[in-house]
């Protein structure tokens, strides 16, 4: 409960900071929604020619986009530093969080809000509602799928970026990992061969963000549920463990910083 109150206070501060630049915030939200819509046009044109690909039709694609965009949006809006953790570590900016009496990782992640994330979230919810799976039990499964997606996005990127504690500057590596995860999460993994599918379930766990949750919402199966829940927990706990281990090697720095 203590940490919940703390997180709510941080989110409040983030929203207050975003409202200092209202026009910029709303512009980001609107343009991100348009951006996602334009990207989806590719699939509209594709399914206009072919009705389905390996059992996936336009509705399932809308569902997949809905889950992935919502998961990304929640991560970016509420835990925005999960994208820039490597820069925080390398720049010695953990000092601020380490001098306050709260869990460092949670504090860092929730201290930044990316306005465009709200655009992703609104788009994701809209996409799900139009996908044809917007039923009471479909919505519950959607929420579970989005929760798994948030955990995988954050957990995977925290692990990759925590390598900065050992390897120094991993900002470029983190951006590569982020692009790979995001790109593959927006494709159904049924399109790929067995080896690629294995990679997408483990090394770059994009299938756990897009395909598996979408299949789970489409039709309940224990296999999908177990894959999602166990995958989320493994990445989440592994990320906390690796970050804490790395924190002992943190070297700070003398760069000038500000909290925005």
């Amino acid at each position: 409960m203590r940490q919940v109150k703390f997180i709510l206070a941080l989110w409040k501060a983030n929203i207050q900071a975003a409202m200092e630049f209202r026009a910029a915030f709303f512009t980001q939200v609107i343009f991100m929604m348009i951006n996602n819509g334009v990207y989806f046009i590719f699939w509209v044109l594709y399914f206009d020619k072919f009705n389905a690909v390996r059992g996936w039709d336009i509705n399932t694609m809308m569902l997949l986009f809905g889950i992935a965009a919502s998961a990304w949006g929640i991560g970016a809006f509420f835990f925005g530093n999960f994208i820039s953790l490597a820069e925080v570590i390398v720049g010695g900016r953990l000092d601020y969080y380490l001098s306050l009496p709260r869990p460092v990782l949670l504090h860092v992640l929730a201290s930044k809000s990316i306005g465009s994330g709200m655009g992703d979230l609104i788009y994701g919810i809209g996409s799900f509602m139009l996908s044809g799976y917007f039923t009471p039990d479909g919505t519950l499964r959607f929420l579970l799928g989005v929760f798994a997606g948030v955990c995988i996005f954050i957990g995977f990127l925290v692990i990759v970026q925590s390598l900065s504690f050992w390897l120094g500057n991993t900002v470029a590596l983190s951006q590569f990992a982020l692009s790979a995860l995001l790109t593959f999460s927006l494709y159904p993994s049924v399109l790929f061969d067995a080896t690629t599918k294995f990679i997408l379930l483990t090394i770059i766990p994009a299938a756990l963000i897009g395909t598996i949750p979408a299949e789970f919402v489409r039709e309940f199966s224990w296999q999908s549920a177990i894959q999602m829940v166990s995958g989320s927990l493994v990445f989440l706990f592994l990320s906390i463990f690796i970050f804490k281990l790395g924190l002992k090697r943190y070297e700070s720095g003398s760069a000038i910083q500000v909290e925005v």
């Binding site: 380490l98 001098s99 910083q257």
Partner: protein, 332 residues
């Protein structure tokens, strides 16, 4: 009772070495070389509860690294330290409830928000209830004279105004110990005085211990009773500020002004003439080598004195002298 106990503290950083240019970059890529830098070398000291301790030294002396170890930000390579009974790097969260920190180069106030919003956020972070937080903000804003600044976005405050808000924020949760790392960096004389007065007041009223690192000897003179001087990660001097002044302030500066034009002969052994004019002169001499009365008698014989000023050299000069003479391990 000690608030800080440090024994044989060491911190070594591994730094990658790279020769200049593209060839150096390629060599470093395939055959990286590392150098060990000992930022803190066997530091031992203690600080009493409620004490005002200055921790000074030149750039790279290990001041900030020591403060970061004492707040739990960095893990030491070896050695022991206890701050308010806690081992900082093992009990960071518990310790953080009892200390306040200000890093002059690392603001803690949210840049785009008014300071009052960060104060309220800090209230939540330190688990104060809203009523208590507001009461404390009212008290601190009066003590630091920031009542009119609280609702202005931090980005629009001057550096001096912002630093007053920073120090006030660090005292929100009534810490027993305040660790200030270069709190006056970049401030003008008036802003420095504001900060010093407010810190002094808080230290007296709430019995807050203050460990202060600074480049500014004025901070030391205004705030601290005891001083530790570090260089190359080691303590080179440790004593009361008053003793430091007595031992190292043996050089005096004398400036005199005469009623009429004079052409005195000031060639006294051991006296350095800094400035000479038709109506006055400025001298510097070492009192242990040249008696004061000898200098004064020379000056008074030269003409009718209308003004005389005797002053100590600035503390910066004193510290520079200690740095020049200092050998590691020198303590009083």
């Amino acid at each position: 009772m000690s608030s800080i106990e440090v024994n044989n503290l060491q911190k070594t950083f591994q730094t990658k070495r790279k020769a200049a240019g593209m060839r150096g970059s390629l060599r470093a890529l395939f055959k990286p070389e590392y150098t060990s830098i000992e930022a803190v070398r066997g530091l031992s000291f203690h600080m009493e509860a409620g004490e005002l301790l200055g921790f000074i030294g030149p750039n790279g002396a290990g001041k900030s690294t020591t403060i970061k170890i004492l707040t739990g930000i960095l893990h030491p390579s070896s050695g022991d330290a206890k701050v308010l009974g806690f081992v900082p790097w093992k009990e960071r969260q518990k310790l953080a409830y009892h200390i306040g920190t200000v890093f002059g180069q690392r603001p803690q106030l949210w840049y785009h928000l008014p300071a009052i919003d960060t104060f309220m956020l800090f209230g939540k972070i330190y688990e104060l209830d809203d009523r208590e937080t507001k009461k404390r903000i009212a008290f601190l804003s009066e003590a630091f004279e920031i009542q009119d600044l609280l609702e202005t976005p931090v980005r629009k405050l001057s550096l001096g105004q912002r630093m007053r808000c920073e120090v006030a924020a660090s005292l929100l949760h009534r810490p027993k110990l305040l660790l200030l790392d270069e709190p006056s960096i970049g401030l003008d004389v008036v802003a420095k005085q504001h900060i010093r007065d407010a810190i002094k007041r808080m230290a007296q009223e709430e019995n807050v211990g203050v460990l202060l690192t600074s480049h500014d000897a004025g901070d030391l003179e205004a705030l601290c009773r005891r001083v530790i001087i570090v260089n190359h990660g080691q303590i080179v001097y440790e004593d009361k500020v008053s003793n430091l002044k007595r031992k190292f302030l043996t050089r005096k500066m004398v400036e005199v002004r005469y009623a009429e034009e004079v052409s005195p002969n000031f060639s006294i052994d051991g006296v350095e003439i800094l400035k000479v004019g038709s109506y006055g002169v400025k001298l510097r001499f070492d009192t242990t080598k040249t008696p004061v009365d000898q200098v004064m008698s020379h000056l008074s014989q030269a003409g009718e004195l209308v003004d005389i000023t005797v002053s100590d050299p600035p503390l910066e000069e004193v510290i520079a002298k200690i740095y020049q003479d200092a050998q590691p391990g020198m303590r009083t």
